[in-house]
Amino acid sequence: MNTPLINTVLSLLFIVISGFLFTEVPTLFLAILAGLSFLNLFLSKFYKKLNGLVANILAAVSLIALFVLVGVSDTVKLFVSMMLLASSFKLLQAKTIKQYQTVCLLVFFNLSTVYLFHQGLFETLIVSVLYIVNFAVLGYLTSPQSFKAANKQSFKTILLALPIAAFLILFLPKIPAFWQLPGPKLAKTGLSEQVNPFSIAKLAESDDLVFRVEQQPGQTLHAPYYWRSLIHDEFNGSEWLISDILKSKQFNPIRHTISRSNSIDYHVIAEPSSSNWLFALGFAQSANSDVHSTYNGLLKRKGNLNKNIKYAVTSSQASLILNAFEKRLYTRLPKMTNPQTTALANQLAAEHDNAQSYFNALLNYFNQQHFAYTLTPTPMYGDNTLDQFVFDTKRGFCGHYASTAAFMFRVAGYPARVVSGYLGGEQTKATTLNIYQYDAHAWVEVFFDEKWHIFDATAVVAPERLNGSLSQLGDLNESFNNNLNFGLKRWSHFKAINWLRIQLEELDYKWTNWVLTFDQASQQSLFDSLFGNNSAWLTPLVVLGTLLLSFTGYFLYSKRPVQSSEPLVDDITWLYQWAKKQGVSPVSTNTPLQNIALIKQQKPAVKPFLNEFEQIIIEVRYQQQSYTQNRKNRVRVLLNSLKTAK
């Protein structure tokens, strides 16, 4: 058994798997995991294994580190890290073939856990490669001939098995979850339940995809797209929060509205997320079983946070009446904060006595007082941050404007709330929009005339922001790019890179739409379209039939004659078969040279080729000269020319 090789390969596997956890677990713990694997690499170079006592001490230390660093709050992450740690230790102490086989089995499980956090096309490809390598190690453990051959065999097997597995995914009935497991908390940036922009000095933005929107034929969405996710109704003096009242209301049945207008249908494909809010325009409802339509027309996920979800949405403009309690809720303010802004609001309210004109006056104010949009605002501290922003700095991003405007509406007595979500979207194809993390936005909804109206001060400060994505803004582009994480997006001003980016994006869209979001409903519609009403009995029949066929096919296909290790044997066998087809049957007891003489005699046309072939046979088989690549190629050429010779 080639222990160093197996050790090295398995260690590398563990290093890559640990790499996948990079965004999920603390770096220090990751360093421990990687360190263990590197230790293993180092040890394997010297054919030694860890002393038992040292290993035990190491294990104890790592276990403590696991609990301290990863913590017990996220059970999934803890579990995944623990599995990885245990497997690394198993490898560290493995000596016999059996122990290595156990490590291989554990890797199969570890590889699956990667999919809890990452389901992208790229990650899937890497995991698949690791999967093949792991199978190769397993094969190599039982027949240690050549690792390259083991990889080849493993690749072939997986390649043949993959279509069947895909078929099973498509056709095996989807079972609902047996029990609800805690989902992993993904370390993704995004919206938060508090809107507090004032302490932020630099808005780091990521170009992670948040969701895609598929427009239905004939139902085009119109910009600006305000994708609502969260409603913040409580202002505590410095930040906007979601009050407990509102949180408890989420579970009420969807609220009664007077009327709905401008109803529009579309699909949203949301990426995995660590939080359960979803995205929709206006007052939204969804019939998807995994989506909860809340009281206020927002959508939420039901569990399964770690997977992509595709849901149909009906959005509309709702007319409704706020009751007295709600009016109080949406006009509550803490006492004695931001006196300057309060005074300003009161002054404006006195000048404009109805809601619409106050609304316009506020917009004008932001427009005329030289407010500027920036991603790098001056951080503000203390009690009266709104005052500092309105009267001193006048530079900020959406959060600043939304916080201030909602506050000023409430001062004037109009029900208002801060809404966070996403604004815009990148048009990738005619009917799809991509919304990225950097499209995150906050705005105000103010209630009058039986409707919630969107008030977005950003619209007057940076009007370009309204139409299209932030990435497409000229002025802000540079500062936007400076704030972006490293990614292809950053280089999208190069045409080739942008083309590549769009192609990859297209691929990823298909991947998400066809693979990741394939669920019970999509399966049912597939069955219906394929089998119509007969799906109940046709489906199992098709499944069994296909399985039977593919396994029989595999059985017949597999194990064709294996290439002989002796040089030229295969070539001579081929020559005999060719000769048989030509009507010359070689005698099995003859030596190859005798048979070739026989063929030459009966097929004089191929004599020159066979003479040379004979020469090579003599050199290699009888004079023990090495069978070089040159000779190999020459033999191939010679045998090929037999076919064309007349």
């Binding site: 499980f109 039982t142 027949s143 002989s564």
Partner: protein
């Protein structure tokens, strides 16, 4: 390790015998559909367990990729079963012989394996003793030796030898049995001792006495019909006078000592006596001396040579 109670083991054996019938009771077996058994190996079982875990995880997180992993693992397992079966199909195993061995050394059996088509990683297993693992090119023939599990003196029925392969990936066990119709003899451990020497010597002395008494005369052995050319002084004229029939007297010569090995004339417990007899049988055969062997349950007439030696040793083993 966990040990099965005896009755379970017995039950298992009887079930086994019922299932296998006597398909494998032969000296030469070609592995075919009827004689190949396939099951996931222990590793394969664990592999299936991991697949099941993946499946549960995939279902609970409604994660298609994890589900795909689970299905992929199961499909690969089915593939390995098919490949494993195909791998050993057409393999023929011939029983050649068991070497002669003396307790406490276990004998080994030699088999010849021949592959119809390429065959990977086959080995013979007898309980927990394994032979070397061989891979065969198509039409290739190799011999494989395996130690048998009997080291005590005795005659044994042949163990049921397992022909097994874990190819590919070690996830499946594809196996068959061969149970050659042959008895395995483990001869007693040859023991020489002073006492034994003297006994042999006493025997010699006794013979010597006889020789003195009948000095000048060979021991009379038997009468045979007269053949033309035989010396006339050897003819038994007494018989001729009585019956008018010419018979020749035959004598055993002094040179070929007549030795009778007798179990009852030795001391010690049974095993010790058998060991001493074993030693004597071998020594006398080496010295080209004829001898007879008497055991309480068997008598082997006087004889000489390798076949006689084998008969005697087998009698000793069977005792």
């Amino acid at each position: 390790m966990f040990k099965c109670p005896a009755f379970i083991e017995q039950f298992r054996q009887s079930i086994f015998n019922k299932l296998l019938k006597s398909k494998h009771r032969t000296n030469e077996i070609e592995l075919k559909h009827k004689t190949i058994y396939v099951l996931p190996s222990k590793l394969g079982g664990q592999f299936l367990l991991i697949a099941l875990l993946n499946f549960v995880m995939g279902i609970n997180y409604q994660n298609n990729l994890i589900l795909a992993m689970a299905y992929l693992m199961v499909v690969v397992l089915v593939f390995t079963i098919l490949t494993g079966y195909k791998n050993v199909r057409g393999l023929s195993v011939n029983y050649l012989f068991v070497n002669e061995s003396y307790a406490p050394k276990a004998p080994f059996a030699r088999f010849q394996v021949q592959a119809k088509s390429h065959c990977e990683l086959v080995k013979l297993v007898n309980k927990n003793v394994e032979s070397e693992t061989v891979s065969l090119q198509s039409k290739e023939t190799k011999t494989v030796e395996i130690a048998l599990k009997c080291s005590d003196r005795g005659a044994y029925d042949f163990d049921r030898i397992k022909i097994i392969s874990h190819f590919p990936f070690g996830l499946v066990s594809v196996w068959s049995y061969i149970e050659p119709i042959s008895t395995v003899f483990v001869y007693p451990q040859p023991i020489t001792s002073e006492k034994l020497d003297t006994q042999l010597h006493e025997n010699d002395e006794h013979d010597g006495d006889n020789a003195q008494v009948k000095a000048g005369n060979d021991d009379f052995y038997q009468l045979t019909p007269f053949v033309q050319g035989t010396a006339l002084n050897k003819v038994s004229w007494k018989h001729y006078a009585k019956t008018q029939q010419l018979l020749t007297k035959e004598f055993t010569s002094d040179a070929s000592q007549e030795l009778a090995l007798n179990f009852n004339m030795l001391t010690g417990n049974n095993e010790h006596r058998l060991s001493q007899l074993c030693f004597l049988v071998n020594q006398l055969t080496d010295q080209h001396m004829a001898f007879s062997l008497t055991l309480p349950n068997k008598h082997i007439a006087k004889g000489l040579g390798v076949h006689h030696q084998r008969a005697c040793l087998q009698a000793l083993a069977e005792f």
